[in-house]
Amino acid sequence: MPDFIAQWLNQNEVFTAITVAHYWDGLVTTVQLVFLSLLLGLMVALPLAIMRTSKSPFISGPVWLYTYLFRGTPLLIQLYIIYYGIAQIEGIQDTFWWTIFREPFYPALLAFTLNTAAYTTEIIRGAIVATPVGEIEAAKAYGMSWALRMRRIVLPSAARRAVQAYSNEVIFMLHASAIASVVTIVDLTGAARNIYSRFYAPFDAFIGVAVLYMLLTFILVYVFRRLERRLLRHQRPVGG
């Protein structure tokens, strides 16, 4: 941080150089946590969504159970169960798993990934189911195999329908990540809570953090708008 900024900040009561650095660390943690869980969640959700559309109940049934379990319970409870539950397993402290789950970051990442994957699975499934029958029949008439049909016709078409709903899921995930602070992770909200309890200044601490969340949201909205325009470019009027 350049000296003149630090000097200017130190005249301020709550937003000193130390607290701004604290917010910055929180911002980095939030972005890491949300980005990784969304990325992993999407990677898990895509095959699950295809399985969920299968006609065989032995394939679609377990996926159905998983999405209903994770969409039917609050994320906070899932986080508590994973974070505190794992520590209660007898002897876990002596295995190599403990080096991972000792830190609060990985239990939180696991909970967030499983949660967002459940919602994303249902979003993608809905988009796949809504594929016009004519497109599939046309693909079959061309002699495309199931895999080729999926890759060339069903998934690209589903992606166009899913992108708006998925952008909401991404923004919800960003805001839901605020609960990571209850398991001692110093994310944006955790940083704000620490600053609040230090200075007894709830307005400054929480409005500051709200502005940061809003900035992140605006960036996400912008990125998704660009993505939508690209995916739906065939729908734009000619010359528009």
Binding site: Y84, Q93, R102, T184, R193, N194, S197, R198
Partner: protein
């Protein structure tokens, strides 16, 4: 007519002046129960506890008739300002925010912070070199949090919790090496389980707990301060303290 109003208001002002300069023969003191062992009710409904007994001794010293009022914590300061009672003796710690609205006496007790760990922990908590890299749990916003943050950040990893229960779970699950918590809380939530022990000496922190009164009643505050000082010196305070605590909270 005008003269009458002036006369009436003069009389009222005199009257008001008289009620203000009370000689404090009757004092109403508020407690929030239960907060064992400071104030709670016995099974037969009698109010007792460390602060209650101290208040009784103080009233005897002041030769005043005291009435004890039960008041929930969130209405404590508003109730005082609304004259529902004259003093609060309910474990109210001195903070700058509260001091803006109420008048505090001299502090009369301060619970120390205590270090607690699992039985296999064998490090001296005052030895900064030995504590290097240890994970310490505190409750967010407590004086214990401020102490660890100011004295030990950079040496230990500080984890902040909202409730003591969450912190104890992580101590049990070996995510924390040691916790630094308000001593009565540690005694109740940690020491009554197996496998935990107290490490090192309790540390006195913060400005302590004091009697809170209205800002205008500085005459009452003077009397209360004098009475508390006498009780601390003549041994009455120690007798009451030793009845309820095995450690020193005198201030």
């Amino acid at each position: 007519m005008k003269k009458l109003i002036v006369a009436a208001s003069c009389a009222l002002a005199l009257f008001a002046g008289q009620t203000q300069a009370r000689d404090w023969n009757d004092i109403r003191i508020a407690f929030d129960v239960p907060y064992e062992p400071f104030e709670y009710k016995t099974p037969d409904g009698e109010l007792t506890g460390f602060e209650v007994e101290l208040a009784e001794a103080m009233c005897a010293e002041l030769e005043a008739n005291c009435e004890f009022v039960i008041q929930a914590w969130d209405g404590m300061i508003p109730g005082l300002l609304a004259r529902k009672f004259d003093a609060i003796m309910s474990s109210m710690s001195i903070t700058p925010e509260r001091a803006e609205r109420v008048l505090f006496s001299e502090p009369y007790y301060n619970t120390p912070g205590g270090w607690f760990a699992r039985n296999d922990f064998n490090t001296d908590v005052t030895d900064m070199a030995a504590m290097e890299g240890k994970v310490v749990g505190v409750q967010r916003g407590t004086t214990m949090d401020t102490h660890v943050t100011n004295e030990m950040s950079g040496i230990v990893t500080v984890k902040r919790y909202t409730t003591a229960e969450d912190m104890v779970l992580d101590l049990e699950g070996q995510r924390l090496d040691v916790v630094f918590v308000d001593y009565p809380v540690g005694e109740q939530t940690i020491m009554n389980r197996d496998g935990f022990k107290e490490v090192g000496e309790p540390v006195k922190l913060g400005e302590g707990v004091a009697v809170a009164m209205r800002k205008r009643d500085s005459d009452l505050a003077e009397k209360v301060n004098a009475a508390l000082r006498t009780l601390k010196e003549n041994g009455t305070y120690d007798t009451i303290m030793n009845k309820y605590f095995s450690y020193d909270i005198k201030m």
